[in-house]
Symmetry: C2
Subunit: 413 residues, 2 copies
């Protein structure tokens, strides 16, 4: 007994296969860094598919792509659906691309329904591919969506450089995606379908995740500056060892999590020690710390305590200075959209589960300018940012089915 989907599930899976060819790795994943040649190929493919489906494709100044279906006329508000085509290095084929391809199939389905005499849309739809969601090539992540939402200046975004010094602006130019179009502005809702990237849906045995909100995330770069000196003849009292405050902060960051029983996630993942020689006192250490929490107040408190501790460790002999590089508050997605997703999923016979996203997504900056929501489907083993990332075809189809049903409602609401 084959389930009847609101969109063409076979074409969805075929399209996902097609786009996975761009940057395909031997391990079955993709390396499709933002504004790379492979990203350019995937964008060209998307542009062609959108045009074929009847959309007019706009490219804005930071390379965000909008496949516009102007069904309700120039004065009507828009609904956006999409995600991102860029990937992590040796990342999975579902992360991002799935949400874009599913939005395309949903748009086709709605167009077909309308053409067959269905209700006339009162809103326009745009299928969106946001630039540099991953942050793997250019920091920070969710850059294109943050520019759209007015949270980041266009000039700042274009000036971001990758590890080899190439800016996002010139990389976009190279692949022909530094556009000049003004994006649609009257935004009624943003919907994003994505794989979960965690184990909850699989563990709960549910197909559709209704994302209630996102964890807050705060990231720091801490610069610790002392002075390099030989470990042999230099008296302890004269040493200015930059590694000691670093060690204190590593343990302090862990302690902040331990005090919450592990509910707050904390980590120091990276430590750059200079000159990093066995018989030289470290003169300079750069430490990267991050904190994630579902509880906004606790994260705020953590931030204050970590910053106070760093300041307290700073002395005339060894200075400690921190920069907050990410400060994404915990937040909730639009309750009306969440309720709508749940209703449509149940109506189509899917079991749902409410959960939060620990990772960042374009839907988070979008919340600044429109009601936003996310739909999750299971990730086998919770694996993501990895070539072995996998979601079964029937779950991919189910997610696109629910997205299509929700968008259909929003088109005429």
């Amino acid at each position: 007994m084959k389930r009847k989907y609101a969109c063409d599930a076979d074409r969805l899976l075929g399209a996902l296969d097609e786009v996975s060819a761009f940057g395909r790795t031997a391990g079955g994943g993709v390396t499709r860094l933002a504004a790379s040649r492979e990203d350019g190929q995937a964008r060209d493919w998307l542009r062609a598919r959108l045009a074929e489906a009847g959309a007019r494709v706009l490219i804005d100044a930071v390379g965000n792509m909008y496949g516009v279906f102007p069904w309700a006329g120039p004065d009507a508000p828009f609904v956006f659906a999409g995600s991102h085509l860029d990937s992590q290095p040796a990342g999975g084929r579902y992360d991002g691309a799935y949400g874009v391809v599913a939005a395309l199939e949903a748009a086709r389905a709605i167009a077909r329904t309308t053409a067959r005499g269905g209700p006339k849309p009162t809103r326009n739809l745009a299928v969106v591919n946001w630039t540099n969601e991953e942050g793997a090539r250019f920091a920070p992540s969710t850059l294109g969506s943050a520019v759209y939402a007015g949270l980041v200046e266009t000039e700042f975004a274009l000036a971001r450089a990758d590890g080899t010094g190439i800016t996002l602006g010139s990389a976009l130019e190279d692949i022909g995606y530094r556009g000049g179009d003004a994006p649609p502005r009257s935004l009624a809702a943003y919907l994003e379908l994505h794989i979960e990237q965690g184990p909850e849906l699989e563990r709960e045995g549910k197909t559709i995740g209704v994302v209630e909100g996102n964890w807050g995330t705060v990231k720091y770069v801490v610069e610790i500056v002392g002075e390099a000196a030989h470990t042999g003849p230099t008296a302890m009292a004269r040493r200015r060892d930059a590694l000691l405050p670093a060690a204190e902060l590593i343990l302090f960051a862990r302690g902040l999590s331990d005090q919450t029983g592990g509910a707050l996630l904390s980590s120091v993942g990276r430590l750059d020690v200079h000159p990093n020689s066995t018989n030289v006192v470290p003169g300079h250490v750069r430490l990267y710390a991050e904190f994630r929490d579902a509880d906004a107040n606790r994260l705020e408190d953590t931030r204050a305590r970590f910053e106070a501790r760093a300041r307290a460790l700073s002395t005339p002999s060894v200075s400690v200075a921190l920069t907050r590089t990410v400060d994404r508050p915990a937040g909730a997605f639009d309750p009306a959209l969440r309720a709508l997703i749940e209703r449509e999923a149940h109506g189509a016979g899917y079991a749902t589960h409410r959960l939060a996203t620990v990772a960042g997504h374009d839907s988070i900056p979008l919340r600044a300018v429109a009601p936003s929501a996310m739909i999750f489907v299971p990730s086998v083993g919770g694996v993501s940012h990895n070539e072995t990332e996998f979601t079964p075809p029937e779950d991919l189809a189910a997610g696109a089915d629910v997205l299509t049903r929700v968008l259909t409602r929003l088109m005429t609401s």
Copy 2:
């Protein structure tokens, strides 16, 4: 009023200038890594000077050079005097070379005195250049002298590889210094003249340092193995963070020094973190720790406590394993030789100061096979392992003067 030296001070300074040409740097120092082309040139120069002075030059299996003056016949014991011609990268021109050149000039002076009807030596003399004292190209340091003293196997020494994979054995072969001579074995004393590489003599305003002993040194490489995992979705309880025990050990090592009021020197100079990515829990950390102390019992105690702490930090989740890479006990130089140095220095009108060496020297392994002692002269600003290393000519002459006087006594004692 010009002081009358027991050796030819002008020739000494000229010889030091000559040898400093091999590997000279623009900054006024030398880069003369062990068994490099430049080291080969300096060795050729030394070989010629020794032959000119009447010595027979022996080269042993690890490239140690012995300029033998067989004044007392084949059955008489030897006195060795020397140091090393290899240098640190962009090192100073005095470190090592001064001791070799001064021993050569002392030998010439004694030969002259004998020829003029002085007392007939009852011991033979050899001017020695030890291979790879610095440990800058091949680890460990004091390699040639350790082989001579029977502390390291010849095969092990020859198999040491530099950063590019070239072994000491093949590097010596390339410069023609992988020899086949058996070195002189009946050793009555070893004398080494060296710059201080620290600030004490300059601070005390004394010309001749009588080295009482060396600090002990213990070095460790600590391997900490957990598991890399994404910082986003991985629950704290499931993380196996290798950076946490590293931070504990960094602070513990410092605490061991603090408890001695800084008398014990402790440091962690190097930390290799893998994968060292901001949003990945560190799965593997390699930590390099070292301890130095003049007090052998305290260093022994430190060793035991550090090793116990590392073992206690090892868990089934994150393993901590340590390897002791250097274990050089604190030790004293021969009291009779020290007294002789002091007597001869005072007899010649020099102010002396007793001190210890924190750094390693060839005289330390030599202690295993013969009474050994060191004479220090001042280093301006305590600077060493640096192109700006400097000792004034009158101090260089004074050191060689005392060395010559001490060796003269030892030749007939």
